[in-house]
Every structure is written in structure tokens, then in C-alpha cells.
Amino acid sequence: MFLNQFLLLAAILFCIGVYGVLARKNGVLVLMSIELILNAVNINLVAFGAYWNVTDMANVSGQVFALFVIAVAAAEVGVGLALVLLIYRNRQSIDIDDVDMLKG
């Protein structure tokens, strides 16, 4: 297997996630797109980790960082969904476009 197979798959998923963040207006869907992006990064980390593990058996840094990213993603989704719920409670809608109170 080539390293590039995994890296290109991750690149495609990353770009789909970026498209989702920019094109969607529903708060929950934007968070889902961010999950796609984080997942793409995780595939990269694990692929590079496996690549370096072949030359140095004790080196599992790629996996360790992937685990850290998973944990941070869980925290991010928790806080993000709490924010979306708060926006919904105050405005009866979770359209990102409606949250424009900072505009003068």
C-alpha cells in the first residue's frame, strides 16, 4: 500500500468538510462538517504513525496524537452543541445567519 492512498483520501475528506462548513447554514450541520475535517486529520496522523512505526517499533506517536485529537473533538462537540442549544433557546432557530447581533 502506498502512503499516498491514505493521504489523498484524507485530503478529499478534508475538502468536503471545508465545503460543508462554508455551504451549510444549520449549526448542527456545521459541527458535523468540522467532525469530517478532524477525522481527515486523524487518518493522516495514523497513516504517518504506521509509516514511521515500520522503521522504529517503539514509535507510536501518530496513534497517540490521533487519540488526543479524538478526545479534543469530543470536548469540542460537547461545548459546540451546548452553544447551539443556547442559540436555539434564545432565537428559536439554529441558522448561523440569524446570529448577527454583533452587527452594528
Binding site: 502506498f2 492512498q5 485530503a11 475528506l13 450541520l29 477525522n39 486523524n42 496513534q63 469530543a74
Partner: protein, 169 residues
């Protein structure tokens, strides 16, 4: 050995195709609940790719944390914000914004793809060995002990923060 490599490649391309289709459906489909379920396909595919990369512990954690916890959180979020369970036409930005977003996505993909193909042209994995969970835990609890502790404090802070933000008072 060769047969195993061919099998790995076939598995990779099937799973990759499923993941890309799932990801495209997540960002285009008109039904919030279906988007969450397509996301399950992408995340499960990622877990399968980790297995192909001989990283068992990350694959299991992916299934436990992403499929088990984060998707459930998303479904809670969708239901608590009382989204319509049927199709909803009002999930996307205007079509101009979508065109610009698609342009940015394609541009980024071209750039990333070019630099990856240019940089790692024929780099192959050597003889992939199973990366043992014992090694992962050794690494976390020795080299990466400090980041690990910081991460647990971050999770606690996020937990308390989410409760404070979302509670009614």
C-alpha cells in the same frame, strides 16, 4: 504476501469510496437525521482504515468515542433543536455561497493533491506490523504524560462549560 497486499488494496478502495460518498451526502443531504446517519458511515469507514493501518487501539477508540458518544450527542442536538424529521429545504446558504464554497473546496483539493503527489510520490509502507496497545500506553504514560494530564483537565473544563452554557436558569 502479494495476495494479502492485493486484498488490502481492494479493501482500502471499497472503504474509501464508501467514505467519500458518505461525506458528500453529509454535506449535501436535505435531512438532518440522515446527515447524522451518513456521518456514521464515514466514521466507521475511518475505523476500518485504522485497522488496515494495523492501529487497533485507535480503531476501537474511534468506534467507542465517535460512533458511541459523538453521534448520540449529535442526535440529541438535532432532536432538542426540534428539527423537522422530514426533508428541510432551509439547511444551506444561498447558491452563490455554495458555488464559492465548492470553488474553495476544489481549489484546496487541487493544491493538497498536487503537493501530496509531488511530495510522497511512491512512498510505500514497509512491512506493516500490528502496533501493540501496550506500546501506545507506554508512550502515553511516559513521553506524552504531560499532554495527557492537560487533556484530562480540558475534558473536565469542557464538561463543566457545557453544563453551565446549556442549563436553564
Amino acid at each position: 504476501m502479494l495476495a494479502l497486499l492485493v486484498a488490502q488494496n481492494i479493501a482500502f478502495y471499497i472503504i474509501a469510496a464508501l467514505m467519500v460518498v458518505g461525506a458528500i451526502r453529509v454535506v449535501t443531504c436535505k435531512n438532518l437525521m440522515h446527515a447524522a446517519l451518513w456521518l456514521v458511515l464515514v466514521l466507521a469507514g475511518a475505523a476500518a482504515q485504522y485497522i488496515l493501518l494495523a492501529s487497533e487501539f485507535v480503531a476501537i477508540t474511534q468506534v467507542l468515542v465517535y460512533l458511541g458518544a459523538i453521534i448520540v450527542l449529535f442526535l440529541f442536538g438535532i432532536m432538542l433543536t426540534r428539527a423537522r424529521t422530514g426533508a428541510d429545504e432551509d439547511l444551506d446558504n444561498s447558491s452563490t455561497a455554495k458555488m464559492i464554497a465548492a470553488g474553495i473546496g476544489v481549489l484546496l483539493l487541487g493544491l493538497l493533491g498536487y503537493s501530496l503527489v509531488d511530495g510522497f510520490r511512491d512512498t510505500e509502507f514497509g512491512n506493516l506490523m500490528v502496533q501493540r496497545t501496550a506500546q501506545v500506553s507506554d508512550s502515553i504514560f511516559s513521553t506524552y504524560l504531560l499532554p495527557f494530564e492537560v487533556l484530562s483537565v480540558l475534558l473536565l473544563a469542557a464538561l463543566i462549560g457545557a453544563i453551565v452554557i446549556a442549563r436553564r436558569d
